[in-house]
Every structure is written in C-alpha cells, then in structure tokens.
Symmetry: C2
Subunit: 188 residues, 2 copies
C-alpha cells in the first residue's frame, strides 16, 4: 500500500461526489475509497468543501479551455458549433467524474465559491450563444432565440454525464457524430 498524494484525494472526491453526491459522501467514505481513515485525509486537504471547490473548478477549467480555443479560431459559425459540440463530448467522456461533479454538485458550493463558478458557467454558455447568434446572422441557422437555442444544445451535451458509460453501445466518436447531426439540423 503506497502512500497517497493530494492528487489522489481530489480524484477520488470527484469520483464519489459524482456517484453519490456531495452530501451523500462522507469523509470516511472518501477515506475508504483510498484505503485510509477519514481523518487521514486532512494531511492532504483543509476541508470537505475545499475538495468540492477544487473538483468543480477543474471541471470548469476544462470547458473554459475548449470555449477559448474555439472562440479564437476564425472558422464560420456553423463549424464553430460543431467544434464546440465535439469538444464538449470529448471533455465529458474523457473526464466523466469531474464533469459530472461540476455540472451537478456546483450548487452545493459555499456562497462565495459558487458565484465564481456561476460566472464561468455563464461565460461558457455565452460562447455558445454568440456563436449561434453569428450563425443566425450569417444565414447558416434559421431565425430563432439564441439564448434558448444555446440552452437546448447544452442540454443535449450535459446530459451525457448522466448516461455515458465507456463500455456502452456507442463510443465517444459515434456519440459526437450523432450530436453534431442532431444539433446542426435542430438549429437548421
């Protein structure tokens, strides 16, 4: 039994918070997951809330990096939407627990940490909204409410955290292809 790093603790927290929820996971549960006592975790972290903050922030950063990279490109809007969809599917399927915790448990953050995360989430959604609005302006997409459209697109993508299993019938690429087709046609 080798010794545990802070990184191990954060990853296990992501796993358990995603599977059982923040309030459904005790520090002793988390210790069990690592073969430690709950109290031993405090050699690595300051508090349970800090663990949630760290997992959620890492999740947010993954999506933010995607949005920044796509926004910086000079592709036409419909290609940007496709890139956002494929990138989003990739982030979730490659970091399922972190993504799930970010999307489902962020509401349990303490008030100060939560507002910072809400800003990031809003900024990410704004990227979708602006790219879709550009697509409407260019005529690639039909006339519609960009706010509503971006929410619907993100709904399809975020639900992946709820049903994706690496061993499932479709692999990540097939899922991404289907979602690109569905979303692009949905926006027309």
């Amino acid at each position: 039994m080798t010794t545990r790093s802070r990184e191990d603790v954060v990853q296990a927290a992501g796993r358990l918070f995603a599977a059982r929820g923040f309030h459904g996971t005790s520090m002793r549960d988390l210790g069990d997951e690592l073969g430690l006592l709950g109290s031993s975790l405090y050699s690595h972290v300051d508090s349970k809330e800090q663990l949630l903050i760290e997992v959620v922030q890492r999740g947010a950063a993954l999506f933010q990096a995607l949005a920044d990279s796509v926004a910086a490109s000079d592709s036409p809007p419909e290609d940007k939407v496709a890139a956002l969809v494929r990138g989003h599917v990739n982030v979730i399927t490659s970091n399922q627990e972190q993504s799930a915790t970010f999307l489902n448990e962020a509401r349990f953050l303490p008030a100060d940490g939560r507002t910072a995360i809400v800003v990031l989430r809003d900024r990410y959604e704004a990227t979708f909204r602006e790219v879709i609005a550009a697509g409407i302006a260019s005529g690639a997409f039909r006339e519609q409410n960009p706010a509503l459209a971006s929410i619907m697109v993100l709904s399809v993508l975020n639900a992946l955290t709820r049903w994706y299993r690496p061993t499932g019938a479709q692999n990540a690429t097939e899922i991404a292809d289907a979602m690109v087709a569905f979303v692009m046609d949905g926006l027309r």
Copy 2:
C-alpha cells in the same frame, strides 16, 4: 396556525428535495418549512425515505400518464413526437419540484424502490424510442439510431427542471414551441 396534512408534508418534501437535494435536506429543515418541529412530521409519515419514494412516484406517474395517452392515439409518428414534447414541457412547468425530484433524486432511493422507478423510466423512454423509430420507418425522420435520438430529445426536455423559472423571459408555451421546432428539425 392551522394544522398540517400529510399532503402538505409531501409537497414541502418535493420542494426541498428539489432545491437542496435529498441528502441536503434534514427532517428538521422540512419541519421548519412547515412551521413544525422535525419530530412532528412523524405524525404524518413513516420515514424520510418514504417521503422520497412518494414524491418520486408521483413524478413518475405524471410522465407515465402522458406517455400512455400519446401512445394510445393514432396520429402519425411526427405528431406523436410533438405531442410528447409539448406534454413533457407541460408536466415539468406545471409540477417543477416533483419533476425535479423525480429526475434528479431518484438515484438516492433505497434499492427496492429504485428498481421500480427505473422500470417506469425505461418504459417512458421506450415510448419515445418507439415513436421515433416509427417516424424513421415512415420516412418522416432520417435514418438514425432511435435509442440515441430518444436520449437526445429527452435531454433537451429534462434539462428544463434545471433552468425553467415561471417568471423567466419565455413562458411555457413559447418554450414548448421552440423545443418542438428544435427537436423536429434535429430528427429531420
């Protein structure tokens, strides 16, 4: 201060479980919500888990009633999909807390109650899948995987529990219209 009925307790439970999560809500929280002590709730219910079971089952029943009514009609598949979408939006916007608890907290049910709910959920999803498959067979929708398509449609619909606010910019009918358009075009 009038006396409280069992119904009041179940409704308050739906409200708090949706807002704070099952594990984030204590019986004393629930008592506060009703102006009672936590212990007083046991005049009306047997346990906290029973409350979750009841709220979740009510939510499931709402969706099941919709699926049964649509499946029994003899409209063409594309009309059935539109009816399912409109009905689903109506169920959620008219019963937001119950729907949210059903969709987000069912995983915390005790093992026996959970399997019963999973059956209902699978049956509901099967309705979507079959209607979509019929639409593909009739040529109304393009060739595609009906299982994946139904998950994507339900993703758009279920996310409503996360962002719908009765005081929001769009009312329920406008949201339903936008979702019907998005989904029908997404399926082609």
